[in-house]
């Protein structure tokens, strides 16, 4: 009952170039660049993707909640229901559920939305776990204390960078996983699985490097808007941030990650 449906890349000129570069052994930065260009249509298509904007909205609201008197109540108003003795898996499940419920009610499911959800949950777990004394049996306020730290400008910048790095890497893999393994085997681009894995790791690193551009921008944006909007951030502002941050990531990947980010 568990079958999986796989797709393949379209045969347009731009995607053929991506495949040609993979075959020819091009560097990850060039392949990432070509991929982003080939995927331009897709990114234009989903400029207002509800799954993506909802994930960014939730990310900003988690940070806003951190400065509210009652963090739990604010989260609840966003559909994030946390029990008193919240653990990290609880937080991950609650954020997933909040996004699922939101998109379920407005029919907004999409591939980018799915990837955004994965990216947000993954980024939160990665960001918060080092701040916890224990993953499963934190004290009653440990997760909440870790969440409260998100209200700091620098913390939001870091979380945002991790989110966009993960989302970009997911997106790259979303496209490239439709072709990478077809170049596996003796005499091909990837003679072994090890080589393919190294390529994927390099791509991940490349996306992380490219995401540096979002970190400071996110921190500044968050600080400015929270001040200007009286301690809150509107949905409209968040949507603008989502689309501009994604554009910055795309532009950075088109340029190739900067050497000084390494």
């Amino acid at each position: 009952m568990g079958h999986v449906r796989l797709g393949s890349l379209p045969r347009s000129r731009a995607w053929k170039e991506v495949v040609g570069l993979i075959t020819a052994g091009a560097d990850v930065s060039q392949i990432a660049n070509a991929t982003i260009r080939a995927a331009d249509k897709a990114f234009t298509f989903v400029l207002n993707d509800e799954g993506f904007t909802e994930a960014v909205w939730l990310m900003t609201q988690l940070a806003i909640a951190a400065k509210k008197e009652n963090l739990g109540e604010h989260l609840q108003s966003l559909g994030v229901n946390l029990p008193q003795d919240t653990s990290l898996p609880d937080l991950a499940a609650a954020v997933s559920e909040a996004l699922d419920n939101k998109l379920e009610s407005n029919g907004g499911r999409s591939d980018l939305g799915e990837m955004s959800q994965r990216a947000l949950v993954g980024a939160l777990v990665e960001h918060i776990s080092p701040k916890l004394p224990s993953l499963f049996a934190p004290g009653p306020d440990d997760v909440r204390a870790a969440l409260a730290a998100l209200g700091k400008k620098r913390e939001f910048g870091e979380l945002s960078r991790t989110f966009f790095a993960k989302l970009t890497n997911e997106s790259m893999n979303y496209f490239l996983s439709k072709t990478l393994a077809t170049h596996l085997g003796e005499g091909q681009r990837f003679a072994t699985m090890n080589e393919m894995e190294q390529f994927e790791k390099a791509l991940n690193t490349h996306c992380k490097e490219a995401s540096l551009i979002v970190e400071q921008f996110s921190a500044d944006w968050f600080s400015k808007h929270r001040y200007e909007e009286g301690g809150d951030i509107s949905r409209e502002s968040s949507n603008g941030f989502a689309s501009y941050a994604l554009k910055k990531m795309k532009d950075e990947l088109k340029e190739g990650a900067r050497a000084d980010a390494r």
């Binding site: 568990g2 079958h3 898996p89 379920e104 029919g107 993954g122 393994a181 072994t192 699985m193 090890n194």
Partner: protein, 700 residues
Amino acid sequence: MQDKRYIICGNAPTDGIEENPDRDLRLRLWGKDGPDKITLRIEDIHKKMSKDVPDSFQDLLEIATYVYSADQAIPRGADDVDSFGHGWRRDLHFIIPVRKPDFWNGDDIHQALRSTLGFLSDDNYHFEFVKLKEAQAFQGYLDFNDDGRLLGYPEQVVMFSGGLDSLAGAIDEVLNEKHRVVLVTHKSTPKLNKRHRRLEKMIADKAGENAPLHIGVRVNKNKGLNYEYTQRSRSFLYVSIGATIAKMLNLKSVRFYENGVISLNLPVCAQVVGGRATRTTHPRVIRGFQEIISLVAGEPFTIENPYIWKTKAGVIEVITKAGCQDMIAASTTCTHTWEMTNHHTHCGTCSQCIDRRFAMIAAKADQHDPVEDYKADIFTQSRSKDEDKIMAAAYLERANQVRDQDDITQFIARFSEVSRVFRYLNGNPGSVAQKVYDLYKRHAKEVCEAMDTMVARNITAIRQRTLPGDCLLRTVYESGSVISVPAIPVEQKQPDNYFRKRGGVWAARFNGNAEVLVTGVDKGAEYINFLLARPNKETSVYEIVCGLAINTCNTFLNSDETEDGFQVTQGVPLGDTGFVADRKAIEQYREAAHDLLREIEDARAENNAAEIQRLEEEMAKVTTAINEAVGLGGKLRKSNDKRKNIRDAFRNAVNRAITYLEKYDKPLAAHLKESIKCGNEPVYRTEEEIVWEVRPIVNE
């Protein structure tokens, strides 16, 4: 998401709907045969069981049949990345006549249906329930096959697909636990009937007096209603039938047996998002089914998956420990049923076949699962289809990734999809997370051990390279062998500036930046390479173009064809072939035209039609000749200026290559734009000297 599609069921009215027969779908469970007719048959039901089935369960069966049929009849869109899979998800609006519309239009059941089915199939569901005008008898669905007696009352309804997991479940229930059970099988394709019957007989033979009761279910419909093979909503129909049968038996639960790895079905790779990995028995779906059936029953009803914490290898151990190894070969796991033949019962390449092969080897039971039954051997054969290559590599790679993780946090961050199950399994999210992590670690270990076993078995063939170079064993084994090419080449000091051919590909690097591979603009790259090799040296464009053409193609061209090129290399510029016609010739054409005009007038006077036609044809030729020879303002045209063509071709090729480079290395493109001058004598000239490495690299 696709545009809204209406599915108008039975005799439901369509008031207020702007019907579009090309887009909307009509389905009927009742009435005369026709293209929109579907039939649901539940076989081998005992008459006593059919009594007292509430209306709401009859409605449930019909709703599930309509949902399942629409799922197959309305195709998903192309799986294109250009729209982030926009076409995959459908917007389905059902209008269904039911016996109890007030119940079905209630908020709770409505929301439960939308939420569960939406998550299950990745589509958007909307339901409008209307009053069924002429209620049909429930018995219409049933095929009675007894004398009206029911021998003993079963204790449990078990969904039996004929795969390994449900087989192990049946063995556990019937042979180990000695329960009296009803096995419910959905007969999705006639190809499986024979295998199901064989398996059922084998279980019955071992069970003796405790032989389980079997109930088969068929949904038949016109071929025109079979477009989409994914059938994500199949388990809803399946569980609705199981629950109805349970209700008939006065039972309050149904059991699915599915191993946890398949049940949770974490995406094997990044392109598998949402419902592209089936969620047939995903814990959230199971919980949703339970909620729906409980609402329909008006009392708590449970849907269980007792194997949620088992891997497939663990499931196989249940079968072997019970001494039922002989049943393994009769079970069917493959999802590509259309590839099934008498000789090959499994395709060997779909996600389920791959999982089965690995699990069999991990459980040391593969001697009971003949490899000949598989159309392709995933370990030792090439796979021609891209999808098959991707699937096998992704499956193995995920196992490698999980194996390498020694921290549950990493696992959740990497496979964050897993957070969707934490609240739908018994226990607090923390302990559930730990169990999921342990399950996947166990599975990864089994996959890696199975791989090691297969490498060991085939080591001679691997060493002797008699196996195909892209088979799974070779690509995995050679990853760790000393002959493997390192994934990241050992860093050698490369020149800061190069523009050269490496193997069959042009590679460029400028100012120590990242290397750019140049594909699709070979000619321009070749010209640039030529110019960079001769800085400040003006060279005739004809020499470059024709000389390179000769170098490249001299084996194909004869001396006549390259004559112009040879002339150039000797310093004689290429010329055109002169004017099409000179002034004198044109004057003669004009005189001829005047003569023809006079002759035409004479012929008209004589009314000689044939002569008129001949003269007019001749006049047309003369006029064409004049037009070809004289341009605007009476200027003479030249026949074909080869020099201009060559100059243009050169410039265009260089510009195309620079435009290509601009995408990946703007400084390089800008430098070339600024430094290369085209025209009759192209040259690469810079203010500051740059040393370019231009020699090709061969036999690297």
